[in-house]
């Protein structure tokens, strides 16, 4: 008994040391963002003097060439529709392939998995050409369309895996009562699918918000740049203002972190679920 208690103590101490190591870089960013740059020039861990200020945050939000508040509004304008649209389409598709047999079903599933492995780099040039032929380069609509298309395969796969775990009894009962396919889907299946929809929305929103590569390729007008695109622009040419950069980093990361904190259960379950099943 004594031995196990000592073991638990050692484990707890090691665990908290690990946590401390992991959080140090993050603490550095918080401390640097909250203080004038002159105080942290020799290291943020020197606490004398310590004058908390929000000037770095307002500096980042109202940056002369890359105002972050505009970037965050732009990112929201992309991320909200680019979460709702693929979820609507892919939930239906995922339900379809989990319940109905149709020709080439296996090929279809394998194609979906294949697109999961496809890197964004592979589609960058063709997408750029298609979008410029359609006149959609440097438009929000083009980027929303691209994120929707990119999100559909994984959400389809994710929802299918979820529907497979739901028993079909209720749906069969509804069918006997004379409900049609869509009636069953919207009245019986969808209410039960809430946890999966919450997981998929949390992840898709976070990924679209965090995306840098696709935005970099499609959006270039200064006033249209997204939040992630404005961070590189805040790095000075001759010296790096770490206070400004830290504040900007915190502002951009606060949105996905909030989603993670609020929807933690769904977030983690989604992360685990779409890879493990």
């Amino acid at each position: 008994m004594k031995r196990t208690r000592r073991e638990t103590l050692v484990k707890t101490v090691v665990a908290w040391i690990v946590a401390l190591i992991w959080i140090l870089p993050l603490m550095g960013v918080v401390m640097t963002a909250l203080r004038p740059f002159s105080e942290v020039i020799d290291g943020w861990w020197k606490l004398e003097p310590f004058n908390a200020t929000l000037s770095n945050f307002s500096g980042a939000l109202n940056h002369r060439t890359a105002a972050l508040y505009k970037g965050m509004i732009n990112s929201l304008m992309i991320a909200i529709p680019a979460t709702i649209a693929p979820l609507l389409l892919a939930t239906l598709a995922g339900y379809g392939i989990s319940r109905y047999g149709f020709p080439l079903r296996k090929t279809f599933i394998l194609t979906v998995v294949l697109t999961l492995a496809l890197p964004q780099q592979m589609i960058a040039i063709p997408i750029f050409r298609i979008m410029s032929n359609l006149g959609l380069v440097d438009t929000f609509f083009g980027l929303i369309l691209l994120h929707t298309a990119w999100g559909i395969p994984w959400i389809t796969f994710f929802m299918r895996n979820y529907f497979k775990t739901l028993p079909a009894d209720m749906e069969e009962a509804a069918r006997i009562d004379g409900a049609g396919d869509f009636g069953i889907f919207f009245r019986v299946v969808l209410p039960n699918a809430f946890p999966a929809i919450a997981s998929a929305s949390a992840l898709q929103f976070t990924w679209v918000w965090s995306d840098f590569f696709l935005a970099l390729i499609l959006i270039y007008s200064p006033e249209k740049l997204l939040a992630t695109q404005r961070i590189p622009l805040m790095r000075g040419v001759y010296h790096v203002d770490w206070g400004l950069l830290s504040a900007a980093s915190l502002l951009v990361m606060i949105v996905p972190v909030l989603i993670y904190v609020l929807l933690q259960r769904y977030y983690v379950r989604g992360m685990v679920g779409w890879t493990i099943k």
Partner: protein
Amino acid sequence: MDDDGKISLSNYIEVFSSRDILDTRGFGRGFPYGSLIHNILWIAIHLPLTTIVGLFLAVLLRGVKGGGIVKSVIFLGMVMPMIVGGIMIRFMFEENVGVVNLVLHILGLETKTWTAYPETALFALIFGSVWLWTGFSMILYSAGLETIPSTYYEAAQIDGASKAKMLFKITIPLLKPITVVVLTMTLLWELKVFDIVYIATMGGPGGSSNVLALQMYLYGFREWDFGKSAVVAVLIAGSTLLAAIPMMKSAGDEAE
């Protein structure tokens, strides 16, 4: 394709013989070795480190008071946008203000801006990305541990098995399906790594931390040479599809 519409392999030959992808001079002189070798180095260091540390943390934090909070802290690296992660990596390795240099200073070791020197830039990024990514394998392994019935361990304990023996004979074999997923997803990420390098070093100094995905972007959207860029994209996609074969196989079996 050529400009006059004829199919030719000239783009492939040009790219594969360029020093951007593979710089054999590196083996005599040091960085840069070319982005292909840099990606391979990334995999060689990042893949085993994140997997093993993730498993270690999952086992360690199971049943520790406050383990959930520690896990959340470590998982933050996966939650933040990678572009922010890149800023943090650059910041922690910075001379005077970086926390890595504080630790090195306390230990009496050399301090410098590690991302600014050809010999160390790539390694700084790789170790920084271990900090960001370990939460991924940890969370998956934690979920996997929950599925192992505790009766297995109780039975082993009655048989007098040691902790180490239980780890290697029960835990690791039963977590194998998760290990396949962790290795696959991590490998895919390493082959596609872009944001971190773009923001922290832009592949520099002198191409010494360049990677394939960044090279593809530089060819295509800085030099506007879509031909060369497409060759690199095909190289990346070919590698990721190879890496994804185990995942495809299990999905195919299951769809039967």
